[in-house]
Structures are given as C-alpha cells and as structure tokens.
C-alpha cells in the first residue's frame, strides 16, 4: 500500500509561476524525500528532510515538514518548462532505508 498521498494529482502552470505540491502520510517517519521523474524513467532525488527538521531549501526548491499534521509540501519557485515532470514524495518510516512512495503529482509548466 502507498503511504504518501500527494495533491493535487495534476497541476498546470505558466512558466515563471510557483508550483506547490502537498504530501500527507500516515505513520511516524525517519525522513521524507521528494523525487522527480521525467517521462516514466528513473527517479531523481531532489531533497530529503529529516523528522526533526521543519524546512529545507535547495536552489529553487523549498520543502516543509509538519510532523504533527503528517504532511509535507514542495514549493518550486519561478518554474521553468524543464520542471515538467511527475513529483513523488517518499517516506522512510522503518529500517534499512525502505521508502514508501506516494501516488505523485504530475506538473506541467507551459512556456
């Protein structure tokens, strides 16, 4: 079963706008990770946030984590056409780095 639930399922924005994706999960976690996937190929790791962290930045990406609400958000600022992809959150809640992925948000950035 998939623990993470992203919303929205699909998002279409104009280039230059910001994109926000949300992820909710069910159990306590060690960390939460966000990945990007282009055209059904391999996953690219974007950012990892640990359970004791609340916010993390990487370039145009900003991730927040609210463990009391069991939710996370990914913000992509000043979006580009190249950001068009599916974005997945994945939670690590057990040992050995097993991660459970959500269902993904499909982002389309229109030039």
């Amino acid at each position: 079963s998939q623990q993470g639930e992203e919303d929205p399922q699909a998002l279409s924005i104009q280039e230059g706008e910001n994109a926000t994706m949300n992820c909710s999960y069910k159990t306590s976690i060690n960390n939460l990770q966000w990945y990007r996937q282009n055209s059904g190929r391999g996953l690219v790791h974007l950012i990892l946030i640990r359970s004791n962290e609340r916010e993390k930045h990487s370039g145009r990406l900003r991730v927040t984590l609210d463990t009391s609400k069991k939710s996370s958000s990914l913000l992509i600022t000043a979006s580009r056409a190249a950001d068009t992809a599916s974005y997945f959150c994945a939670v690590n809640s057990g040992g050995y780095q097993k991660v459970t992925f959500g269902t993904g948000t499909k982002l389309q950035v229109i030039p």
Binding site: Q2, R41, G42, L43, F88, Y96, Q97, K98, T100, G104
Partner: protein, 115 residues
C-alpha cells in the same frame, strides 16, 4: 563515476515465462533495492539486498526473487509472469555504512511488457 545502471532497458515477454533484470549499483554503494512502478502509480518496494542477502521485503509474492553478487550488483527474477507484472522496474542503491537519512540513487529502469 558511473551511476546506477540497469539492463535491459526494455523487455517483452509472454505470460508464464520467466525474466531476469540486472542492476549495477553506483560506485561505492553496497545496498540495492528493487521497486515496481505500474503505469500512473508510484514505485512499490519489492525487496532490498545487502551483503548478498535479502534484508527486507515488500508485499510481493514468492514469484519475485533476487540475488546480490559479491561485486554488489543484483538481479531481480520474476517467474510465471502475469499480465499484471507489466511495469517499470527500478533499482536503487545506497552507499556503504549508511544508516538513516541517506539518499538512494535510482537507475533508469527496465520497462517490462507481458503479453
């Protein structure tokens, strides 16, 4: 420095056949995980190999088995293929000595079609 590699990239099989997929981890990595991703879904964890042993397993039947070699590369075997096994199979690797909070690196995947 090569990343995670997988072979083949695409594969077509018929129901009932057996398939073997291969993965070479990133240099310096010793742990390999396999995931199945059906179309339009997120990846599902199949199992993880460390020190040539299956360390953790997801909710997949025994038709799915694996192996890890002394050079840390890994194989995923699926027996008695079903139409529902059609998916993208992803391999991910982790560096040696990792505990929690580390990044795993994914390969490009093998797309399997079962007819």
């Amino acid at each position: 420095d090569a990343g995670v590699t997988q072979s083949p990239t695409h594969l077509i099989k018929t129901r009932g056949q057996q398939v073997t997929l291969r993965c070479s981890p990133k240099s310096g990595h010793d742990t390999v995980s396999w995931y199945q991703q059906a179309l339009g879904q997120g990846p599902q964890f199949i199992f993880q190999y460390y020190e040539e042993e299956e360390r953790q397993r997801g909710n997949f039947p025994d038709r799915f088995s694996g192996h890890q070699f002394p050079n840390y590369s890994s194989e995923l075997n699926v027996n008695a293929l079903l139409l529902g096994d059609s998916a993208l199979y992803l391999c991910a690797s982790l560096r040696k000595g990792v505990t929690y909070g580390e990044t795993q690196y994914f390969g490009p995947g093998t797309r399997l079609l079962v007819l």
